[in-house]
Symmetry: C2
Subunit: 245 residues, 2 copies
Amino acid sequence: MSGKATRLYPLPPREIPANAIYEDLEFPSEHIHASRPYVIINMVSSVDGKTAIGGKESRLGSQTDRQTMRNLRSKADAVMVGANTLRAEKLSLGLDAPRPARQPLAVIVTTSGDLPLETNLLIGEGQQFLVICPRGIAIRLPAGPGRTHCAPPTQSGNVDLGETLKMLKAECSIDLLLIEGGPKLSYSLISANLADELFLTLAPKLVGDTQEAALIAGPTPAARDLNLLSVYLAADELFLRYNFL
Amino acid sequence: MSGKATRLYPLPPREIPANAIYEDLEFPSEHIHASRPYVIINMVSSVDGKTAIGGKESRLGSQTDRQTMRNLRSKADAVMVGANTLRAEKLSLGLDAPRPARQPLAVIVTTSGDLPLETNLLIGEGQQFLVICPRGIAIRLPAGPGRTHCAPPTQSGNVDLGETLKMLKAECSIDLLLIEGGPKLSYSLISANLADELFLTLAPKLVGDTQEAALIAGPTPAARDLNLLSVYLAADELFLRYNFL
């Protein structure tokens, strides 16, 4: 991939290669939370707040967005998605550079256990994966470096995300956890005050389809204020970094 | 209102008073379309693409956003909204500076004729307003400088927006038309290729309520590519200007 990006904010502006967005990212100390990882959410959205075209997130972002996603993964100890995201399309949660030094742990959260692991989860070379489900759900794992962890269910039968994050820190040494959606998982984390930062790629498109998912989605308002940390621009696509106030 | 804004893009960055965003705006010649106005849409959205909190758009944007909206209105010959927007809350479509040199024409588009004009439309001093409805709908106008125009209905019974824009140019000399939503009106214009620019204020908030309206909303995809023209930043709020490709 060629092309240039410009860091517009903080000032002064600085031109960098488009594939270097977030390469020199710094996070607060890994010890900012004593008992859970530092949690960052990365999503791509159209200008009208839709996270997919025709149900597929991969149709929305550019090649630069996908490289930026990989740069974030390279910083993370684990990459987590909800089961809906895995059901929507084939996806890798790893790094695809030749022989990456270290693959993040792939984590899939499911309530029902209905997971197309064999067909839709592309496991990177040397990558391990972990399925989180409520107690009592049976998961059939494909051959490979996968395992399951049963978390206590919440009153509504979902995975208890607070307990899950504690477990990831204590048992898997996950200090930086990257969430790649979908909207329900992001909403659950944000509304439980378990998310620290939001990385949003604003694709220069309008989707306009009322059926497409929004960035976060839940039954009741979770209005939260954000603080803008940085803005990058590459070919009309904006890369926004916020933290939660 | 005090405070500073920074134009981040185009480069170089430039600091301006926060109340001066879009004050020096330039548009393509008024003759770019022979038979309709140049159409710009201005909306405020949360980072997750919602255009209201608790059903009210006014809760989303800052004071700077409201001043920016007035700066855009001061450039426009007419300001148009859909009836849902008027039903949602009291609103003015005019300028509230002391004795503005010229008020834009307020235009309300309705399919049903159900319009709370007397309670919700705050008419500025010296401002005229126009209600556009399909033929056969009776509108009860309050006392004042209002009139109605009946447009031919489309097959679905809505106002024919293409014919309406032609009428506004030919009969009312409207060269620059500002659309302030709601999502259905914006969607209808964009999907009919009748919109030229989108001004989006990205409020630094997550709403997360699946009931709130999106920026544009329609039954089928209207995926469109946008071209980023400028980016301003004031107190974590981004002011984005796009045109349609």
